[in-house]
Symmetry: C2
Subunit: 428 residues, 2 copies
């Protein structure tokens, strides 16, 4: 019976916990059973704390309802500091590191009643060198990165909620590859304190769960934006189909998902328009790449200076590329980003949200790379809210979906549209 708990979304579980229909302890045990069964194949976890999770569950079951996340087990990407669990940021430089304090996002979840089950695998400093995690949908395929373990753990039913972060495509891409819902909020919506920084201009806290309503709940707790708790509306969202300047890089599975969405949404009565991004913005993905490299080279200057031998060759060359970007070039990049942020409201002139590819296609074969964040870079640079909704599958049967993108700060509207789409296209 407890095993069925793993198939229910966090929002539904939170209601059942608050009404005392289920106990936090049963839910934690269901998660731990699943982990026992599957972790040796999936490697989603960098550290686990079963005993303190059970202790905390008993405390919560015995006390008043603590907050929005009361009793919900949570996976925490190993990029976030935790005072009671090792924190490696996915790097051997920090093997055995135990921070003094929790990251703000972790403390906010705990205050809201979440139970930290453990730390999930991150790539090296949230960049490209993978950890050991395997895609739970099919062995031998990458789960994506950098929030590899969080996406895989949620996809496998090990935990109903997990924290992630995105600088380029580290939430949306693994959500797409693992077939779960991933939500990168508007830039600045959640404090990044205690999360290992890559780029102050881009780093964004977000999360994973089964359904749009679930990630909205997580973000309501993290941001204090309680409007996210009610994303149901009678209105039918208007979608803008945005193939993006990178469309030629999308493979047939992603292209087919776009066509299927267009057909399906129209059938359900949603207005769909084509939104074309003007040529002058086609370079934004490269601007994101350069801003990230510039900032990462400076944020990781201690690691680069003192522990160069423990950096992966790929990261070392990314940091070198970043050091070679001059202050002048960087400021020109930031100015281009700023101009695009001011202009991009126009893309929403005839629609409430955009619908765009999340990834090139299905999760690629191989565990030595995490796939390409190409289709996420522009939106990360612009700081717009993005929600990946899984609703289809590709030629080999692995999950495929699309991302819903909102105006800056209009997270609720984006979540509403994403849920509307999920309700109609994914639960058919």
């Amino acid at each position: 019976m407890t095993s069925q708990l793993n198939q229910r979304g966090a929002f539904e579980l939170a209601s059942a916990l608050a009404r005392r229909e289920i106990t936090a302890l049963d839910l934690v045990n269901a998660c731990l059973e699943r982990i026992d069964l599957r972790e040796r194949d999936i490697d989603a976890w960098a550290a686990l704390s079963p005993q303190s999770a059970r202790d905390r569950a008993r405390e919560l079951d015995a006390g008043p309802v603590r907050g929005l996340l009361h009793g919900l087990p949570l996976g925490v990407k190993d990029l976030f500091d935790t005072a009671d669990l090792p924190t490696t940021y996915g790097s051997p430089i920090y093997a055995g590191h135990r921070p003094v304090a929790d990251a703000a996002a972790v403390a906010l979840c705990r205050e809201a009643g979440a139970i930290v089950l453990g730390k999930t695998v991150s790539t090296e400093f949230a960049t490209y060198q993978p950890g050991p995690t395997v895609n739970p949908r099919r062995a031998g395929h990458t789960p994506g990165g950098s929030s590899s373990g969080s996406a895989a753990a949620v996809a496998d039913g090990m935990v109903p909620l997990a924290l992630g972060s995105q600088t380029a495509g580290s939430i949306i891409r693994p959500a797409a590859f693992c077939g779960v819902t991933g939500y990168k909020p508007s830039f600045g919506k959640v404090p990044v304190t205690g999360m290992k920084p890559l780029s102050e201009n881009l780093d964004t806290v977000g999360g994973f769960s089964l359904y749009v309503k679930d990630v909205a709940l997580l973000l309501a707790a993290l941001s204090g934006d309680h409007a996210l708790l009610d994303i149901d509306e009678n209105s039918t969202p208007r979608f803008g189909l945005c193939r993006t300047p990178q469309w030629d890089a999308a493979d047939v599975d992603t292209q087919a998902a776009m066509e299927a969405a267009a057909t399906g949404l129209s059938r359900h009565g949603a207005a769909c328009v084509e939104v074309n991004i003007a040529a002058q913005y086609s370079g934004l993905a490269q601007v994101q790449t350069d801003v990230m490299a510039h900032d990462a080279a400076r944020s990781l200057s201690w690691e680069h200076d003192r522990h160069a031998a423990l950096l992966s060759p790929g990261l070392a060359s990314m940091l070198q590329a970043g050091m070679d970007i001059t202050r002048h070039q960087h400021e020109a990049n930031l100015a281009r980003a700023d101009a695009a942020r001011r202009a991009c409201d126009a893309w929403f002139a005839d629609c409430d949200v955009l619908l765009a590819p999340s990834a090139i296609g299905e999760a690629p074969t191989g565990l030595d790379a995490t796939g390409d964040p190409l289709f996420c870079r522009m939106w990360s640079l612009l700081g717009l809210p993005c929600i990946h909704v899984p609703f289809s599958s590709g030629r080999t049967g692995l999950p495929v979906g699309l991302q819903v993108i909102g105006r800056a700060g209009k997270d609720r509207q984006a979540l509403h549209a994403a849920q509307w789409l999920q309700d109609r296209l994914a639960r058919q």
Copy 2:
């Protein structure tokens, strides 16, 4: 002879070090002698590392010139992580804390050849509860805060350069009270990685030294913006005298400094215009207060949740006030700030820089408070570059000066004007 080294600015010392006219070891020893003599009266330092500073000086003296800060002793505000020195963030919660890594700003200074002499006293988490530091200009007076130790150490000749940070007025105010040059760059110019965060929307890394040229050198090393190395220009800056909406709060000493500057600048041939801030912006100081409280409550959520008894009553009530600010109010505050950032270029229509009060007046009596950041709040919210230039004194003989404020991102232009003013008004 070495004692005279303490009276020379960092820029001049850096040139002498690079030309091998003086040794880093002599300079470190001169600083340590001064500290030996004065520290028991001033309490500027939270931790010192004389031996490793001497060792590093010998290494640098024996090797090639390492970078812009080659051989310069540096004080590091105890808000920045250091791997080789305790880091308390000014709070008993972190007594004895030793971080794994250096903050990015510390690593960047070290890479440029700076020698970390020790950690300087910060108020509690860079807010308002003072440390023990005494104003070196007169016992019994506050040095200001939160970068209390950095400002006092530079003012007393203990070190030629020190790192600081500003969220409300934590660089400009202590610079004013201690009579040194303080520079808060444009928001985002230096990575904040490894500095204990208060507010992602406001926190800015900067520093202290004797002259404008010296802080420009420090920031050139921190930001990679080498244009800051050459702030001499033939052109005469045009100043906008900006009494700000808080003018009534300025005491006679600050008001007299404004009049003296207006007279002096005109005498030296600089154009001076009056710049009035429209009434709609008079609430920006309050917006800054609220944004800071909101963000601090979330950034310090672990400390608040786990160690409430170790927070000062003042900080506890600031965090409570911050928790009471709703997401909706906060977003309205950020929108007001954003609108003002877009509008404030108009204030520079007839001038290159603004000249405005740095503080209410001379350093107040008493060590139980650090003075009011009122005159800094608006500029911190707007993210504009600010340089405090000491050039006068008040009724009791303590230092008074003004801040030069530039357009966002135009740090070099602001530094040029500040140096022009310092050369003419402060070295008469």
